[in-house]
Symmetry: C2
Subunit: 342 residues, 2 copies
């Protein structure tokens, strides 16, 4: 963290915007006009435009006690891109609005935007607009992402078919464990002043603080000509997300506990905390992996990708939504995802 | 205001979204997929997409002491549509994210969304996505608007030419006067408990609480085949906005005080408060009128519309940015617009 402190009020709103966007480079030919006018202009001849938005509120979605601002900027972008990929689309532009209290300096904003631009760079998206304003308390971030998709190649949540295979990308549950350890260390710090002990927890803490969106999976679908029948990104836990697909597709499902991919480091750490790793995958949040269904005919193609696990299949609605445990028991799936309203 | 109170927590986040969007109807053929998936899908064959975003923070941009929630919902949409019109484009979709503390009930949210849907209806735009979350304090609203424009028919701020005429739509300064009276009545109420006296102030209070975006002006341009050379919407006062056009077009300007359109009710009320009506127009904010420049050749066409006033002309940059007063004096224009950073 930088030790200088420049007050935002010394620049004014327009000075701040100029400062924050001066190195903003355009990456997509479809970006006709970017930051600096009433609105941005995007060209989409012959493509369909996909749009999504997310709001992140300090104290609700993130804690600056243990979230570096650069990571927060990065994550604010990534969580929105993840929604675009979950439509089988390619993100091309974002807008970003931010409100912050006067406890944030210009150097703090620079760190935040470093993360924003790093994510834009990595995923090839253009920052084309936004708004900066002050807040009475804390930081609030709102990102809107735009993407493009060839006509009618987008994938909804409502179009899974009975008998389709349920797949997930990557590994699940680690972000929740990362949050758990960060919250624990924060509590210890508050009570004893002891510095955080995150030794050996790089993987799970990284999954929480700096998630990535699964661009590679969408590219794999295009290469292999796989059209998922339904797709959603996993922000609230596997259970909550598969229930969305079931509800919107009017189907039931069966998941197999032993097929749910949990990274070995995360599993070991869960045991250490006496938490069930499967519960982390089902009900933890913020993994930002993709959950999708495919026709059985695509099984051989999907098997080529070791980043994809087949975790169950869709059933008729009357059969309900269940998970079969390692011990051979059958439990009903319930949504216990992060509910910020509670 | 409704007297019932339903706690949002009784519905949960997804229940709330279902509730708030159940009467949401699609108005544009370009809206392929709306609320209810990871992202919305928009079709723009052969059109360019225009996108803008604004964030409104309680205590900074609005005061719920005197802002009815329905008006706030309406205005949150309109201020974004105004930016789309300022590009010479037609708004087609919006996304809306909102964070609010638990002091807001479901009935309060319904009032807010009534205003949102009323604006969508009036301007023919579709609400296609959003995010609802809680805040630690107050209400924060972030709206992103999408519009479309025929290829290269959008109008920037940076393309005014020397000698172009400077035009504004409607009347200026009343929104600032509306805010002034509302703030005064709030103070009187706090000190004495006296109910607000807004008798006869419908016009100026309405301009503050329920502004409209100038769709009609954009339609007039299309009918008359007028292509403004530069355009911006007036959110921070005429002075601040013309300085944006000057800076981005690398030009100077002359404004005539006696040409600046101030509505008679507003002028009288300004005198009553001993405020200069011209200062309200130059430095007040939130009028959401359009400021644009046209080639002199378009003078006869623009004259056909009594909603358009010609207030000055563009000059070479070296001649500076000035206003000629009624008294024959020449003053330098300075930006004293609402600066939320201060």
């Amino acid at each position: 963290m930088s030790t200088e402190r420049t007050e935002i009020s010394d620049l004014g709103e327009f000075g701040l915007i100029d400062h924050l966007t001066k190195n903003n480079e355009t990456k997509n030919a479809s970006t006709i006009l970017t930051v600096g006018d009433d609105a941005a202009v995007i060209d989409h001849y012959g493509k369909q435009t996909v749009i999504t938005t997310d709001m992140l509120v300090e104290g609700i979605h993130f804690d600056l006690m243990y979230t570096p601002l650069k990571h927060l900027g990065y994550k604010s972008v990534v969580v929105n891109l993840s929604d675009i990929y979950a439509m089988n689309a390619t993100p091309t532009q974002i807008t970003l609005s931010i409100a912050f209290s006067n406890r944030f300096s210009l150097e703090a904003m620079d760190e935040f935007y470093e993360g924003v631009y790093a994510a834009c760079e990595k995923y090839g998206v253009d920052l084309v607009g936004g708004d900066t304003t002050s807040s009475q308390k804390g930081m609030i971030i709102s990102v809107t992402a735009i993407g493009e998709v060839s006509p009618d190649m987008f994938v909804k949540r409502s179009t899974a078919k009975n008998g389709d295979l349920i797949c997930v990308s990557g590994f699940l549950g680690a972000a929740f464990l990362g949050l758990t350890i960060l919250e624990r260390e924060k509590k210890i710090f508050a009570e004893t002043g002891a510095q955080p002990d995150l030794e050996g927890q790089n993987y799970i803490v990284g999954r929480m603080l700096k998630p990535e969106a699964r661009k590679d999976i969408i590219e794999f679908f295009a290469e292999q000509e796989i059209m998922p029948t339904a797709m959603i990104d996993i922000s609230d836990g596997l259970s909550s997300e598969i229930l969305h697909i079931c509800k919107q597709s009017e189907l039931g499902c069966v998941l197999y506990e032993d097929k749910i991919p949990v990274y070995e480091d995360a599993r070991q750490f869960a045991y250490k905390l006496e938490i069930d790793p499967t519960a982390c995958a089902l009900s933890g949040g913020e993994d930002y992996e993709l959950l999708f269904t495919i026709a059985q005919a695509d099984y051989e193609k999907v098997k080529l990708n070791d980043q994809i696990s087949i975790v169950g299949y869709m059933t008729p609605s009357v059969e309900g939504k269940h998970i079969l445990t390692r011990g051979g028991n059958k439990h009903e799936l319930v949504a216990q995802g992060w509910n910020h309203m509670k």
